[in-house]
């Protein structure tokens, strides 16, 4: 049947450009407006503030652990130890951040999963995309807004850690305080923050991509948490598994999987004292678990580790963008 065939076709009307509307200039939002809108949504979300507080609690807990071990061993504040010597301040600030990072990874993975999967799960994505918003722009704007949130998370952690470092003097004298802050110390601290940010962004994209693939925040969060937990377990199993194979490949398994690692960039940004302290619990790919004792977990150069992180980022962004742009919205 052809119920409309009787009606003559109409000449194309021009696409309306500047309507008179109480809503103002109606048009599709540009990238900056989309980023602003996403930040507005994040700012209004109590969960985001909850995650920020949780991250600060992690940092505080890490600082408490640091103080506990320094007091327990008794020589933690002596030169050659974490809180003594010329690098005492950068170590004092960096150590809570290093320990708090593990919790932050989970928080950012959850944030990524919730930000994308939540809109799929509730169907809110229908409303967004029915307004003519360019899908790729929307996705990018969301990533940028979340990256800003991650940067805020790192900054808040840094400020918290810097603040807490001032209280060390109440526990032991002498102790590093912010009065000892100088250019090299600041640079070292900021470098560590950059590594933490890279780490958080990877977790964010992992959570986001998995929830876009499955269109479910719950699955995205669970799968990314599974990865983060699984890498610790794999760190224990893979060396044993590799050796048990008694083959050339088996012997190289750890090097193949551990050396070009995602967390190597992070490890490279840390002061040497802190990077030496990394072990399997900092992630399967954070350092070589069979490395010589005392060796830093920096198996690859900064450039190589950056390229590895960049490659993973491009893969995750590419997959999520392709699926987001091409797939039908069935929610």
């Amino acid at each position: 049947m052809n119920p409309t065939a009787w009606q003559p076709s109409q000449p194309a009307m021009p696409v309306p450009d500047a309507p008179v509307s109480p809503a103002g200039n109606v048009r599709s939002a540009n990238m900056l407006e989309l980023i602003g809108n996403e930040l507005f949504k994040l700012r209004k979300r109590r969960l985001v503030w909850g995650l920020l507080i949780a991250d600060l609690v992690f940092v505080f807990a890490a600082w408490c652990v640091l103080v506990f071990y320094a007091l327990k061993t008794g020589d933690g504040f002596n030169p050659g130890h974490l809180l003594g010597g010329p690098n005492a301040l950068s170590d004092a600030i960096g150590q809570p951040l290093t320990l708090g990072r593990r919790g932050g990874e989970f928080l950012t993975a959850a944030l990524g999963g919730l930000a994308f999967g939540g809109e799929f799960s509730t169907g809110a994505i229908r409303l967004v995309l029915s307004r003519g918003v360019n899908r790729a722009s929307y996705l990018l704007a969301k990533y940028v807004a979340l990256a800003i949130a991650c940067a805020a998370l790192v900054l808040a952690s840094l400020l918290m850690s810097m603040l807490l470092s001032n209280f060390l003097i109440l526990i032991h004298q002498p102790a590093p305080t912010l009065l000892n802050l100088n250019g090299p110390t600041l640079l070292t601290t900021l470098s560590g923050c950059l590594g933490t940010l890279e780490n958080f962004l990877f977790c964010l994209m992992l959570g986001a991509t998995l929830s876009i693939i499955t269109r479910s925040s719950a699955f995205g969060i669970a799968a990314s948490f599974g990865y983060l937990i699984g890498e610790d377990i794999a760190a224990q199993i893979l060396p044993v598994l590799g050796k048990s194979l008694h083959t050339l490949l088996g012997n190289q398994l750890v090097n193949l999987l551990f050396t070009p690692n995602l967390n190597a960039f992070y490890a490279n940004t840390l002061p040497s004292f802190l990077s030496r302290g990394l072990d399997q619990l900092d992630g399967v790919i954070a350092c070589n678990p069979i490395g010589a004792p005392g060796s830093a977990c920096v198996p690859v150069s900064m450039a190589q580790s950056f390229m590895i992180a960049l490659t993973w980022a491009l893969i995750l962004i590419g997959v999520s963008t392709y699926l987001f742009v091409r797939r039908d919205v069935l929610q």
């Binding site: 048009r27 949504k41 509730t122 229908r126 409303l127």
Partner: protein
């Protein structure tokens, strides 16, 4: 007559009885051309050709699974058609979605907003996708939606009816040219349904074009100027509501001698069927006017006891058409 597959429902002009007015200039706001969506081998929408004119309230009817929502999603660029085309304001949607869709307000199935935001903040966020909306417009829309006092409450605390009203508010936020409402009466109480009907009428009077998908046929009858019925992904009928109903109307004439009246009316050209039921003359003549019938009988010396017009309701028409198409 309204038949599945007919191309036009406009009655043929009848000399002496009715001269149809000159139709106004037609401006097609929404058009689908051979719109098809296939999921594997299953055709959810099959070659849909539809036109919605400026200023009309178009009702989109169909049973569950008929392809209504799939069609609406394609109209809003949420689903890519397998073949065919959607044209909004005369332009292909696929090439200008960013320019065309900001002029379309839509409520798709159950409204879904960010549960952690208030109703007001949700509208601000929705407005943000079209370049931002002034705060006074947001407040105005909240008033229109009847949520003025609850605008600052979190969306998660809203009842189903309130969520539906907020969905309609979001659709009206940018004062769009075309408004697509998918089951707007869902979750509304009787008073809310009346308000919704009044709102649709008011918007129509303002010159808005409204595309309403609904199962509530009584509502459709009261607000829509034209309807389309879809079944199995295919449009099985489209036409003006009054023409559609008039096509099923009949006159029941109570007279002393029905056989005589039948003989008298047999020669009238606009009568399509004539018979006697329960002692009354039943005349099927969609375009016949009552006063003409009475006058005609009186001139021939017949004074009826009563003349009553009845018509099939939209629900029966809908069921008849959809069952017929399904071969039931």
């Amino acid at each position: 007559m309204f038949h599945p597959g007919t191309q036009s429902l406009a009655p043929a002009p009848q000399a002496g009885w009715r001269i149809p007015p000159t139709p106004p200039r037609r401006e097609v706001i929404l058009e689908t051309v051979g719109l098809t969506k296939a999921y594997g081998k299953r055709l959810a929408v099959n070659g849909l050709n539809l036109e919605v004119l400026r200023g009309e309230v178009f009702g989109f009817l169909g049973p569950n699974g008929a392809g209504k929502t799939t069609t609406i999603r394609m109209l809003l660029n949420l689903i890519a058609p397998t073949s065919g085309e959607v044209r909004l304001f005369g332009q292909p949607l696929v090439t200008h979605p960013g320019k065309l869709l900001p002029y379309v307000g839509a409520l798709i199935e159950q409204p879904s907003f960010q549960s952690y935001l208030s109703g007001r903040d949700n509208l601000i966020a929705v407005g943000g996708y079209t370049g931002g909306v002034p705060a006074r417009r947001v407040d105005e829309v909240l008033e229109i939606a009847g949520l003025g006092e609850r605008g600052k409450d979190r969306y998660s605390t809203y009842s189903l009816g309130m969520r539906q009203r907020l969905g309609v508010g979001a659709a009206l936020l940018t004062d769009p040219e075309l408004i697509i409402l998918d089951e707007p009466g869902n979750g509304l109480d009787p008073a809310g349904i009346v308000e919704m009907r009044e709102l649709i009428r008011k918007l129509s009077q303002q010159g808005k074009t409204i595309f309403v998908s609904s199962h509530i046929l009584a509502e459709v009858r009261q607000v829509c100027t034209r309807i389309g019925i879809i079944r199995g992904g295919q449009l099985i009928g489209v036409g003006a509501v009054d023409v559609l109903l008039r096509a099923t109307s009949r006159w029941e004439v109570e007279v002393e001698n029905p056989e005589q009246v039948c003989r008298l009316l047999a020669g009238v050209p606009i009568i399509s069927a004539l018979n006697i039921e329960n002692g009354m003359v039943v005349i099927k003549a969609p375009t016949m006017r009552g006063r003409d019938l009475i006058s005609f009988l009186a001139k021939n010396g017949i004074w009826p006891e009563s003349v009553k017009r009845s018509e099939e309701d939209l629900e029966n028409i809908f069921l008849r058409l959809t069952e017929k198409e399904a071969g039931l």
